[in-house]
């Protein structure tokens, strides 16, 4: 009962938000003469045969893995009131360099994959680190600089792909890097379907699922059970209190952005190692921005982010079926966008309701829903535009 009361408000807000978002997007669709019920029917239709259904699930989980990592990367920064909007550029640049590095070297199996991962993590962390350095040394708002770094990263990636890293023959319709050899490709997990007695789908379930799960657990432990995680949360909730208790605010900014970037480097790898084996012009894009949405929906907690990633992946799966059924497939983006907006509003209302009931003294003292880190994304107590933020820590 106590657990339920504690979880209640935390769960209620996102669920309510999703429902409200569905209602709003239905209204938008209806206003534009698209039948929302037909659209939702297509979204829920996983096919008739067991193979089709399992395939649909595999597609969803495969999509959820990078979304989860993206959400995690954004959430780490959010927890301390930092906006890492540059996840998009970080993972795209990291993936292309990792793809080129992976194709250039030849090592025994697991080691090869490890090197590719390491390259991706380092590149993305460095890219995010630049944003952090600009913030702590020059006082540039990380919001603006990470957005600009996105454009620079995408430009660089397109230059690298068409220039030095080009592996596809001249005149090919899709330009790509050279293919990563077999030793650097990650095997799928389809064995578990046989073990569970399910139909074996034609698609491979990404082996990266295991790595993503490990990363999720490590980050959760790091954020909730270590000194570093406590300092990070404290800096997010009250920078002045944190620095009074001996936390070096500038070092914290750099460390947090490096960690956020490191996780961001992994985002492109499930697709790269498990499916495409090379970076192409049409490599999965937009995960960084979706990661912001996923982090908000998941209230910056690894478990919440996992569920949010699954929800977004479920919505994304509908893209192709909607196109086949001749519906505007961009309704998916509309639903996702409205969910984000509804979630941040709902979180804010939930926070206010919780505080009011806490003030009345009706809630159990320890049972108050989380404030700050669970509010509307970044910690509430830090105004994102406060003097500390844009003008920076020059002191």
């Amino acid at each position: 009962m106590n657990a339920l009361r504690r979880m209640g408000p935390a769960l209620l807000a996102p669920v309510l938000a999703v429902v409200v978002a569905l209602v709003i997007s239905s209204a938008v669709m209806a206003a534009l003469a698209v039948n929302p019920f037909d659209v939702f029917a297509v979204m829920l239709d996983f096919g008739d045969s067991p193979t089709q259904q399992v395939t649909a699930m595999v597609v969803i989980v495969n999509r959820a893995i990078p979304l989860f990592l993206a959400g995690l990367a954004v959430a780490i920064a959010f927890r301390m009131g930092l906006f890492n909007i540059g996840v998009e550029g970080q993972y795209r640049l990291a993936t292309i360099i990792a793809a080129a590095a992976g194709a250039a070297i030849s090592l025994p199996g697991p080691l090869h994959i490890l090197v590719i991962m390491l390259v991706a993590v380092i590149v993305a962390a460095v890219w995010a680190g630049i944003v952090a350095l600009l913030k702590v040394t020059r006082g540039v708002s990380e919001v603006i600089s990470s957005i600009m770094m996105n454009f620079i990263a995408l430009g660089l990636a397109s230059y690298l792909l068409t220039g030095p890293f080009r592996g596809s023959p001249e005149g090919a319709s899709i330009i790509s890097t050279a293919e990563i050899p077999e030793s650097g490709q990650m095997p799928g997990l389809n064995g578990i379907f046989g073990a569970l007695g399910l139909a074996n789908p034609p698609r491979q379930l990404y082996g990266f699922l295991l790595i993503a799960a490990v990363v999720g657990v490590v980050i959760a432990v790091l954020l909730n059970r270590t000194r570093f995680g406590f300092d990070l949360k404290a800096s997010g909730m009250s920078p002045s209190a944190a620095s009074a208790s001996g936390v070096n605010a500038r070092a914290m900014v750099v460390k947090t952005m490096l960690l956020s970037g490191a996780v961001a480097g992994l985002i492109g790898l499930p697709d790269l190692l498990g499916n495409t084996h090379s970076y192409t012009t049409d490599f999965t894009a937009g995960l960084g921005f979706l990661g912001i949405a996923v982090a908000l929906l998941g209230r910056n907690k690894p478990v919440g982010i996992a569920f949010a990633a699954l929800l977004f992946a479920f919505l994304d799966r509908a893209l192709v079926p909607l196109q086949i059924a001749d519906y505007p497939s961009s309704v998916v983006t509309i639903v996702q966008g409205t969910i984000v907006l509804a979630v941040v509003v709902a979180n804010e209302i939930a926070r206010r309701v919780a505080r009011r009931s806490a003030e009345r003294g009706t809630a159990a003292p320890a049972g108050g829903p989380p404030t700050g880190n669970g509010g509307t994304g970044p910690a509430q107590t830090t105004p994102p535009g406060g003097t500390d933020e844009r003008q920076g820590a020059q002191a």
Binding site: L32, L134, I144, V331, V344, V345, E348, G385, T387
Partner: protein
Amino acid sequence: MSTAVSAPETRPSRGPLTDLLTGGGPVRRALWLALAGLALFSIVRAVSGEEALTSSSTMSAALLLAVPIGLAGLGGLFSERAGVVNIGLEGMMILGTWGAGFAGYQWGWGAALVGGVLFGALGGLLHALATVTFGVDHVVSGVAINILAAGLARFLSELFYTDNPAGGGVTQSPPVSSKPPSFSLPVLSSGPDLLGDLEQKHWFLLSDLAGIARGVTSGVAIVTVLAVLLVPATYLLLWRTAFGLRLRSCGENPAAADSLGVPVYRFKYIAVIISGGLAGLGGVFLVFIAGIYRENQTNGRGFIGLASLIFGNWRPGGLAAGAGLFGFSDALQLRSRSAVVALLLLVAVLLAVLAVRQFLRHQLLVGGIAAVVAVAAFVGFLTIDELPPGIVSFTPHLTTLLVLSLASQRLRMPAADGLVYRRGEN
């Protein structure tokens, strides 16, 4: 430009030369700065032989591209002066481009203006609803609006432009049915075209000046001139009227404003809706440039507008200077890939000056970094003939980043900018 300057007459004299250069307040100093910049450009142009650097065609493109950035920045100015951070400018601009394309292909350029402003203002209304009424974190709401706007534009295009007999498709509208009227200054820029002649002489300084003057007076749309006039108009509205004072008071100290009877929530709503309308208007100008709505037309210009607002220290004049700078670098990368290389020389010179200054102040680390980068830029200028398209494409963004990291030291944002204001809680 900068508001933080104390009254000049209270300063002791620092010698006749310094007084001549820096006396007379911010206006005189800005003039000197502009002149120095022009001379620098002229030198770089003469040394590198890249006539595109100050040619009238680059300048007119720079004006065209600076206007959307400046309008987005003005939008940001209204909203942030009322205390609401507006990262959603990009999304509102996207909505503006879509609205302009939709109204423009059916009813011409006038309707495109109205449509773009209306759509942008709708985005602003949404932002105001989330941040003012529901008290959502401003950046979060802005990010959500950016995601939503991109999706909405795609959705509406899919709905209205596929199978449209007038043309268009999933990512673009049918062409706008009429162009806004434009004019050239008689004698100077058309007919005898005196400025054009002077520009072709490639004389030091004079030809550069002529190129700039011809660029902004030849074939300029009247709406562009009106848009530029919005900068002084905004200054007058925000700093010389009671309305402006009240609006700014909401951004500096909303609780005090409230206690004096200013309807803070209403002012914030008005400011953010105007902000969206201006960002949408910026989108309209992008549509005018292309003659068509295209997906990703904004290409981050809303964000660059926001950066120009920060660069301009939350003042209209500085904002316009920033927009001009970013518009120029944007125009340069669109017009000439080799001219961008000449920019490297410019960067090298500026960083060398910075390095010397830092060394004189015994800031060895910063000076050292600046010197190394300056040398690298100079080597780049000497060795690179033409940059590949991928690299050139981010010239304006890199410029933005460089300028912000070099200049964002003595800025003062509105005191309550980004704070969620709840009546009775503060």
